[in-house]
């Protein structure tokens, strides 16, 4: 009888320990990385409303709003493997410090050499009905009358033209306004490892929006409010706003 008791205790102990071990193995190592979007106008930090900037058309302007969707984020490693963030939808509001830094979780350990993301929202989520989180229509980044997300909003005032409003979207067809952006880390590596939260800093340059690839004159274009040719052209402008700044491992 006693032997049987001993055996029971031993078996029970083994079961408990092995169960513990398994749990530890299953739990993922939560590799993390941060991406910070620093909004600038040329060499200056972007300050809303009060600071007057000059664009490549020699127009003077202030910025009152800058919001955009960053989605489908991917990191590429030095061995060319790719990490794709699941459910990757983020609304960046340049005015809101809580949104201009993203924390990406469950990133596998390794040295990453570039990031790729979409400015805008993929067509699937544009046609899939009521969404929540970053894609909630409450976020004021949605066209209801011609349904689809507004990918990018920039608003401001121009001394030569008055107020300007650039709302850009359009998820399908020849005027689709999503743009894939890849930023290389210029030989630097973002090192994801246990106990570390490396940080990628990107510059988002309003001056570039007005100059590259097309020169945008606010006098000539004060308003974009729907999907179409103008939206698609402005999408080419925002595709070039994102540049590598530095990495803090």
């Amino acid at each position: 009888m006693k032997v049987l008791q001993y055996i029971s205790i031993v078996v029970l102990t083994v079961v408990i320990f092995s169960a513990c071990k398994k749990d530890e193995q299953i739990a993922p190592v939560p590799g993390m990385a941060k991406i910070e979007f620093n909004h600038v106008v040329g060499a200056s930090d972007l300050t809303f409303n009060s600071v007057v900037y000059t664009n490549s058309s020699a127009e003077t302007f202030t910025i009152s709003k800058l919001r955009y969707y960053v989605s489908n984020i991917q990191f590429t490693k030095d061995d060319n493997t790719v990490f794709v963030e699941p459910e990757s939808y983020h609304l960046i509001d340049a005015k809101d410090e809580n949104t201009d830094e993203l924390t990406i979780s469950n990133v596998p350990d390794g040295n990453y050499t570039s990031i790729t993301f979409m400015i805008g929202v993929d067509s699937t989520r544009n046609v899939s009905g009521a969404q929540t989180g970053a894609l909630d229509p409450l976020n004021d980044m949605f066209w209801d009358w011609n349904s689809g997300y507004i990918f990018f909003k920039m608003e401001g005032d121009c001394d030569q033209a008055g107020s300007f409003i650039y709302h850009v979207g359009g998820y399908s067809g020849k005027y689709a306004a999503q743009r894939m952006v890849t930023v290389l880390f210029n030989g630097n590596k973002l090192t994801v490892a246990e106990g570390k939260i490396p940080q990628l800093l990107l510059h988002v340059d309003v001056a570039s929006f007005f100059s590259t690839p097309n020169t945008i004159s606010i006098v000539d274009l004060t308003n974009s409010g729907s999907a179409g040719a103008t939206s698609s052209m402005l999408a080419d402008q925002y595709a070039g706003m994102f540049a590598f700044d530095k990495i803090q491992n």
């Binding site: 544009n126 009905g129 009521a130 969404q131 909630d136 229509p137 409450l138 949605f142 009358w145 011609n146």
Partner: protein, 344 residues
């Protein structure tokens, strides 16, 4: 003794039967989404919006509640009346808040899960998204989603219902829109004499109706495709030579879409007057006259429509209208499950 009880038994039976028919007794409110076998596969599948009785009922409460409007004067049902197949009876355009009028005719609501897009210009791409438009349009309900949610979440009946429907403690925009999609998505209309005909029931149609159906198949069904009686496309049906409303072009920004509008289903057409995107025709006679003699030329008029019209004979017009009158689904127009829950 036994013989004496027999009349009582009969009386009880009569009493019970009459009880059953008494309209004061609540009717069965159980709902499921009807999908007739001869309909195509639906566009909206409920895959991401599990259909439940409570979800449907939450949507029904919302549909009939004027709290969705800025000043609590306009509900969805104000302009979507059940007896008119959820169109706005006898209104070319509808009253919003502050007696403001829109510029397009209120569409009927039924068989919505088979539609590829919504609105006369097709601008809305998903059944769940549609309600944002009337709620936030300044000349319809004039509200914001934020305000609507705040007002709803103050009411116990909504808190209780969203708990039952979705297992959450408050209504967010997604639950608001998904429950409305459940209510509206369940509005299947398929119980007409035309459906009897489609299912091969003998003598479903008399000779006049059959004659009307044949004219319909020849002249109308390329756009009003059977059995839904729409192909979900957009055409310019020759109403105007110059467009006061550019229609589909507003959405696509393509010149070729100027003056084109959604092809509506013709189910329940006899009760959804007035007709066309601006409600310009009051009767089916006027509509048939337009296709017979009124088609005008323009840059985008549909190539299947002869300029000047089909030149129907008087008999053809009569038969066509007789056929159109077989498309009314009385059961749907009076289905208690789609009626105002406040009156039950």
């Amino acid at each position: 003794m036994k013989r004496n009880l027999f009349p009582l038994f009969i009386f009880s039976l009569v009493f019970f039967v009459s009880c059953k028919k008494d309209p004061a007794i609540p009717v069965d409110q159980t709902i499921e989404v009807e999908q007739p076998s001869y309909f195509p596969s639906p566009v909206y599948t409920f895959d991401n919006n599990t259909f439940t009785q409570d979800g449907f009922e939450l949507g029904r409460m919302l549909f009939y509640d004027p709290v969705l409007s800025l000043d609590s004067t306009v509900s969805c049902a104000t302009c979507h009346q059940q007896f008119a197949a959820f169109s706005n009876f006898d209104h070319p355009t509808s009253h919003g808040i502050n007696s403001l009028f829109g510029k397009r005719n209120t569409p009927a609501l039924y068989n919505l899960i088979w539609k590829t897009n919504f609105m006369w210009d097709g601008g809305v791409n998903n059944l769940e998204i549609q309600p944002i438009n009337p709620i936030t349009n300044p000349i319809e309900m004039g509200e914001t989603l934020e305000n609507v949610l705040m007002k709803l979440n103050r009411q116990k009946k909504y808190i209780d219902k969203v708990k039952l429907a979705f297992g959450v403690d408050s209504i967010d925009s997604q639950k608001l829109l998904k429950s409305l999609a459940q209510f509206m998505g369940a509005m299947s209309s398929n119980n007409t004499r035309y459906d009897d005909y489609l299912q091969g029931k003998p003598d479903a149609f008399n000779s006049s109706e059959l004659s009307g159906l044949n004219i319909f198949k020849e002249k109308c069904a390329s756009c009003h495709a059977e059995p839904l009686l729409t192909n979900n496309g957009f055409v310019n049906n020759g109403l105007d030579s110059i467009f006061s409303d550019s229609g589909r072009q507003k959405i696509t920004q393509l010149a070729e879409d100027a003056g084109k509008f959604k092809i509506p289903s013709l189910r329940n057409i006899a009760v959804t007057l007035p007709y066309m995107h601006d409600g310009r025709f009051n009767t089916l006679e006027e509509v048939v006259d337009h296709y017979s003699n009124g088609i005008v030329s323009s840059t985008t008029v549909d190539s299947t429509l002869p300029i000047g019209g089909f030149q129907f004979s008087v008999q053809q017009k009569t038969d066509l209208i007789i056929f159109l009158n077989t498309l009314t689904d009385d059961d749907f127009l009076h289905d208690a499950r789609f009626s105002d829950p406040a009156f039950q």
